[in-house]
């Protein structure tokens, strides 16, 4: 187990810069998820930590050793790949034992460690099969087994669940979490799936175009996104962002967007400049439709017209027109609403986030 430190890490491919000075401190036994759209540099960062890519600038420290020039095999890291990367000509047992064999561990210890890992991952009955005779989920387990047996300082996962079907993915996600709780190994996990990021991470790192956008706990990045990109990338459906202005109405700081005016809570955004243009961010689950009278202050209740209602089972998605602004609301239960229906909605305005329309950064 070890701490991992990225100091101003840069990666260039020729003249193209794909990682722009990433700084990150990953604590011992922390589970960090790197998330972002394709081409954001998340896999490149992971591969640089693994030693599979050279580092163009800055330094990477694992434990207390700068590893910029250390070869992958001497970094004591283990990696699970998206396509599993199992050795097809070897049995499950041989696949899991390969790293130990290369480390010249004695046979009986290899045997013991492989059997232990196989028991943890419920791979016992498959040890003598070749990867081709395994299902996707089993292969994934073998790939994890291969990483576990070596007892590395750091686990690296490169989109390990994206080749699995939805049901299996949920199941494996849980198991991954359990494994981390059991082994407490520092883990760096790359994904483009924000649900994986939210459920697995101690802290999430959101990347875009090679820049780190925000680092924080899942709830932090969900509730207090650092900029519009994070607000829209994390959360499904994404955060509602509408253009508006801050003005004082009867002495209270109020958000105005078209015909909609919402009074800001007394403890938030009070020192904002009068008349400043802002982007108003409200999470879809911050718009309530049921029991609004009991849950939401009166000045945050508004009349809305339903454009579309989608029932998802446990909850419903509503597209609402509120004073000529379009909002998506994620509400509890099966709301049997039809286009044109009128409902009273309540905004949880204590959760509102304001962004600067020019920089798209969140306003403190």
């Amino acid at each position: 187990m070890a701490q991992v430190k990225l100091n101003n890490v840069v990666k260039n491919y020729g003249n193209v810069k794909v990682v722009h000075g990433a700084d990150l401190l990953i604590d011992d036994s922390e589970f960090i998820v790197l998330v972002g759209p394709s081409g954001c540099g998340k896999s490149t960062i992971l591969r640089m930590i693994a030693g599979l890519e050279t580092i163009s600038g800055g330094e990477i420290v694992i434990g207390d050793q700068v590893v910029n020039r250390v070869s992958p095999k001497d970094r004591n890291v283990a990696m699970v790949f998206q396509n599993y990367a199992l050795y097809p000509h070897m049995t499950v047992r041989e696949n899991m034992a390969f790293g130990l064999k290369m480390a010249k561990e004695p046979r009986d210890i290899i045997e013991k460690k492989v059997n232990q890992a196989a028991a943890t991952l419920e791979l016992g009955p498959y040890l003598d099969r070749k990867p081709a005779a395994l299902s996707g989920g089993q292969r994934q387990r073998v790939a994890m087994g291969r990483a576990i047996v070596r007892q590395p300082d750091v686990f690296l996962f490169d989109e390990p669940l994206s080749n699995l079907d939805a049901q299996l993915r949920t199941q494996m996600r849980m198991e991954l979490k359990k494994l981390h709780l059991q082994f407490k190994t520092t883990t760096i996990y790359v994904t483009h799936d924000q649900i994986e990021a939210m459920t697995l991470a101690d802290r999430i790192v959101i990347l875009k175009d090679g820049y780190i956008q925000q680092v924080g706990s899942p709830i932090e990045v969900f509730e207090r996104p650092a900029n519009v990109f994070v607000a829209q990338f994390i959360g499904n459906p994404p955060m509602n962002i509408i253009k508006g202005k801050c003005t004082r109405v009867n002495g209270a700081m109020t958000l105005v967007a078209g015909d909609l005016s919402l009074q800001l809570p007394e403890d938030k955004y009070q020192d904002i400049a009068e008349g400043k243009s802002v982007l108003i961010g409200i999470r879809p689950d911050g718009i309530k439709v049921r029991d609004v009278e009991h849950r939401i202050r009166e000045e945050w209740r508004k009349e809305a017209t339903v454009n579309v209602a989608e029932i998802l089972g446990g909850q419903s998605l509503l597209e609402l027109n509120i004073s000529n602004n379009r909002f998506i609301a994620e509400v509890e239960g099966r709301m049997k609403l039809h286009p044109g229906d009128k409902v009273t909605v309540g905004f949880e305005l204590d959760r509102v986030v304001l962004f600067d329309p020019e920089t798209t950064e969140a306003i403190a």
Partner: protein, 371 residues
């Protein structure tokens, strides 16, 4: 008529001409050659309009292996075995080595690949002639050291008289038993990991034949009445070199295509598992390319068994030291007009090639069935 059966009829009709042609010109002629090899067609009246042929059973084959006058064929067979084994080891080994070097993506990889593959495109007659010049006693390879100030080499690449690994053909049975022993014991050890009981069976067969050969010794029946020494003629070294030169580029291309087909992730995984570059090739890449190795071995063993033109152009058809069964077949059939004897040599070669190909086809077929 249903669509499927109509399709089948169309497919059958399309294939029919080639089935008929292959049936006649390949299998029919193989059958005819087998028949001829069982007769006594040959001698002075062999080219008569209606030559006299008598069925004599396998006498031709018996003569080839144990007949007093067929020592030349036996030497050719021994040459062919050493030639095949050296070519396989050389061309597969060198081709694999060059492929590994090129797989490391050196500068000018494309150019080098073409350079190494180029010899393949030459006709054997051309490369044979070039190599004959290069291996001439007072020229080419032998004078290379003089450029560095050393004495020239004196080795006679194509006409050396030395024989190494010599053995007495009289002891054919004993040698055969030793070979069986070595091979089965090796198989026994390979099988050991998967199945102990099978392994024990193989080892038992190996031990038994080894013991029989050892204890039996001089009491085993002799293949010949007189001592007849054969071995690895060093004069074939030049021919082996030329063939390796011509074919290692081909195996290189096979392996390079295989290496390129291995996913980068597998390489990365091996690196993270602590494998050095050489361990990556020995434990991962080369074992993964087993099908390519098998194909290369089959194709090359085939080529080496049929080799004719290269030897013809390098040392002529009737140089005893560098003889080859295919040349012998040609000389026996078309110079000596011993058609039946020639046919039996052809069938021996055919069966030898089949011993390489048939097991391969069977395993391929089984694999396809299990898929």
């Amino acid at each position: 008529m249903r669509e499927v059966s109509r399709d089948r009829i169309k497919a059958f009709l399309t294939l029919l001409p080639s089935i008929v042609l292959i049936g006649i010109f390949v299998y029919g002629f193989i059958g005819n050659t087998i028949w001829i090899s069982l007769t006594d067609w040959g001698g002075v009246a062999a080219l008569a309009e209606h030559p006299v042929k008598h069925f004599i059973g396998i006498q031709n084959y018996v003569d080839l292996f144990t007949g007093f006058l067929e020592g030349r064929f036996r030497q050719d067979m021994v040459n062919a075995v050493f030639y095949s084994v050296s070519l396989l080891a050389g061309a597969v080994g060198l081709g694999m080595f060059i492929a590994i070097l090129l797989d490391r993506k050196p500068k000018g990889e494309d150019f080098l690949r073409t350079v190494f593959l180029y010899p393949m495109s030459l006709s054997f007659i051309v490369s044979g002639t070039i190599w004959r010049w290069m291996l001439a006693p007072q020229g080419g390879v032998n004078i290379l050291p003089t450029y560095a100030g050393f004495k020239p080499l004196t080795f006679k690449w194509l006409s050396a008289k030395t024989t190494v690994l010599a053995f007495n053909w009289q002891n054919l049975l004993q040698i055969g038993l030793y070979l069986v022993a070595v091979i089965t014991i090796i198989i026994g050890f390979i099988v050991y990991r998967n199945s102990r009981s099978k392994s024990v069976k193989w080892l038992a067969i190996g031990a038994l034949s080894g013991l029989t050969a050892w204890i039996g010794g001089d009491m085993l029946p002799k293949a010949l009445i007189l001592e007849e020494i054969h071995g690895f003629n060093l004069a074939t070294l030049g021919i082996i070199m030329a063939t390796i030169w011509q074919y290692s580029g081909y195996t290189m291309a096979l392996y390079l295509a295989g290496f390129n087909g291995i996913s980068q992730d597998l390489h990365d995984a091996a690196m993270l598992d602590g494998a050095s570059t050489s361990a990556y090739y020995t434990h991962i890449a080369i074992p993964m390319l087993k099908p390519i190795t098998i194909s290369a071995v089959i194709i090359l063993s085939h080529i080496s068994l049929k080799m004719f033109d290269l030897i013809f152009s390098m040392t002529g058809p009737d140089n005893a030291e560098t003889g080859h069964p295919a040349l012998n077949m040609y000389l026996t059939t078309f110079r000596a007009n011993e058609f039946a004897r020639g046919a039996s040599i052809a069938i021996v070669l055919f069966l030898l090639a089949a011993t390489f190909i048939i097991p391969y086809l069977i395993t391929q077929y089984k694999q396809r069935r299990t898929r």
